[in-house]
């Protein structure tokens, strides 16, 4: 029953976004801004959407990825040059796998409430660990701009942060979409949906629920860490613990997933599009609006509209020709 047709709308949306970014002057950065939100939504959706478990420490995965890149560039770029970027992505993946295995290994054996409790302190815990133990620059963070300019030259550094980082982000976002589609069409996805609906029943049917939750968690973590490595460290050229572990990003990602439709392929894309565009234009008019508006919005979605936009459309279009293309 594998159905890969939803890849078509997925790729069309990305193609349109990229085309707008390339052809209309001044639109590249807004488009990248929107794609960042789509990407963090997609990464979270693989775990939250497919398992029904909430990871309140989501931002810690973006942050630890950002640190992976910062450590590679900050401490090794003079020695190994441009290969440090590759090392940065590798470290981001390694750090995120270690963190997700540690947290998931402990808390995913337990029920959702316990997992949520375990994750709520992850970002603050990591922040205090880095600041308290004074590793990786402690609370002063890692500032790379000077070092990068000295090692790679001013022009190449600018090229890295204004173009290469963005292209990598787009690649990660598309990859996240395709891997979601693959999971949904695969044994992993069937197992995850079964356990999301009824964990006890899934267990009785012989599904190793902890294993599948773990797979989803690690995949979601790796993608989040890659986003952090490219969109924060490579793009901004600095990392501060108070920035990269700020809870705002967790909230934004949750709102994007829930607004678009948790557990759907296109949900985080629609949610990220709406949220990214609104934020880009509203933050100019209403600075600091974010949480004051996001919090009640999230309450309203959860209470009145838990299926999200794509979930709603999917239900409305059942038994029509378009249905196959929406997932």
């Amino acid at each position: 029953m594998a159905n890969y047709k939803p890849a078509i709308p997925l790729m069309i949306i990305y193609a349109i976004l990229i085309a707008i970014g390339f052809t209309i002057p001044g639109m590249w950065q807004p488009i990248i801004f929107v794609i960042f939100y789509i990407a963090i939504g997609q990464a979270l959706n693989i775990f939250l959407g497919l398992t029904g478990y909430v990871n309140f420490g989501y931002v810690a995965l973006l942050g630890i990825g950002a640190y992976g890149m910062a450590v590679a560039l900050g401490y090794y770029s003079t020695a190994i040059g441009i290969a440090a970027i590759l090392l940065g992505f590798t470290l981001a993946v390694i750090f995120s796998v270690i963190l997700s295995l540690a947290v998931g290994g402990v808390a995913l054996r337990l029920r959702g409430a316990y997992f949520a409790i375990a994750t709520i302190g992850v970002n603050e815990g990591l922040k205090h660990f880095i600041e308290g133990a004074k590793i990786w620059g402690g609370s002063e963070g890692i500032v790379l701009s000077g070092l990068l300019r000295k090692t790679f030259g001013v022009e190449f550094t600018n090229y890295l942060s204004t173009f290469v980082a963005d292209v990598i982000l787009i690649a990660i976002a598309i990859f996240a979409g395709l891997i979601t589609l693959y999971i949904l069409n695969n044994k992993i996805g069937y197992a995850l949906i079964a356990l999301r609906e009824d964990e006890d029943a899934a267990k009785v049917m012989g599904i190793n629920v902890t294993k599948y939750k773990m797979i989803a968690f690690v995949i979601s973590s790796i993608i989040a860490a890659l986003i952090g490595a490219s969109s924060w460290t490579l793009k901004m050229t600095y990392v501060f613990p108070s920035d990269v572990f700020a809870i705002n990003y967790t909230v934004e990602a949750i709102v994007i997933v829930m607004l678009g439709g948790a557990g759907t392929l296109l949900g985080p894309i629609i949610g990220g599009l709406i949220y990214g565009v609104l934020k880009y234009y509203l933050s100019v008019i209403l600075p600091g609006f974010q949480l004051l508006i996001l919090a009640p919005l999230l309450i309203i979605i959860v209470v009145a509209f838990p299926e999200g936009i794509v979930g709603y459309i999917k239900r409305k279009l059942r038994r029509t020709a378009i249905f196959e293309y929406i997932m």
């Binding site: 939250l48 478990y53 337990l110 949520a116 660990f129 600041e131 308290g132 004051l292 999230l298």
Partner: protein, 296 residues
Amino acid sequence: MAVLEQLLANLLYGVILGGVYGLATMGLSLIFGVLRIVNVGHGAFVMVGAFIAYWMFILYGVAPVISIPIALLLGLIIGAIIYFAVIRRLIDAPELSTLLATFAIGLFIEELAKQIWGSDYVGYSWNIGSITLPITEVPLTKLLALLSSIIIAIIVYLWFQKTKLGAAVRAVVEDREGAMVCGINVNRIFMISFALGIGLTVLSGVLVTLFVPVGINVYMGGEYTLKAFVIAVLGGLASPWGAFYAGFIFGLLENGSYTLLGLIPGVEPFGLTRFVSFAVLLIILLVKPTGLLGGE
């Protein structure tokens, strides 16, 4: 010797602070026990209580002890409003919904508080003298906070054990359907428990201010959410009494590790102590997720 004395003094503070921690967690455990909802926005209610104490003291010169019933009353009202506006609609919803909803409620309260009180750190000092022990000096305000916590916990305990309503709440904790069959209005019990849970939490915020002289801030709650989770899990998550006792354990643990971490050169013990509470949480979940004190 100086180290040992410092450790003993800090452990004593740990016990005193632990009583307040325990009280600050009872509301969380009560709500989980009765409604099976984890209040992820817990810390925000502690913050509200702290600001009530601050305002009453700064604006009207009211001693924090007098603010206790005021905070309880306001907390009950806030709890009832939240119950009717949001929680009531989510009683049978999947866990995901209640987790996200309580999380969002906490954020919303913080942002509202920021509109009222701004984001600066504030504080007040209430001095009524202190008693001198061989190892340290203990301010009377802190002893008063401990005493209030114990008295309030006892009152709640008696209410649970000796009144009809308390018995109904216990029945719902034990078996929701069974209680319904016996003619208990479960929805009413849900409302009362949620309001009481929030009331106790707001109340505990008043006592917290006696320990953080300049630490009142709209975002102070996050720290207490994490601490309350550690304590609640220690105490078995669904048991308010377990939570109260676990508060003392956590107070000892926190202050003990603060002293010991301070001995390591080159680290900043304050930040690391907060990391320790997170690490303790993971260890308890790994070793004995049902809580060290029995519980569920």
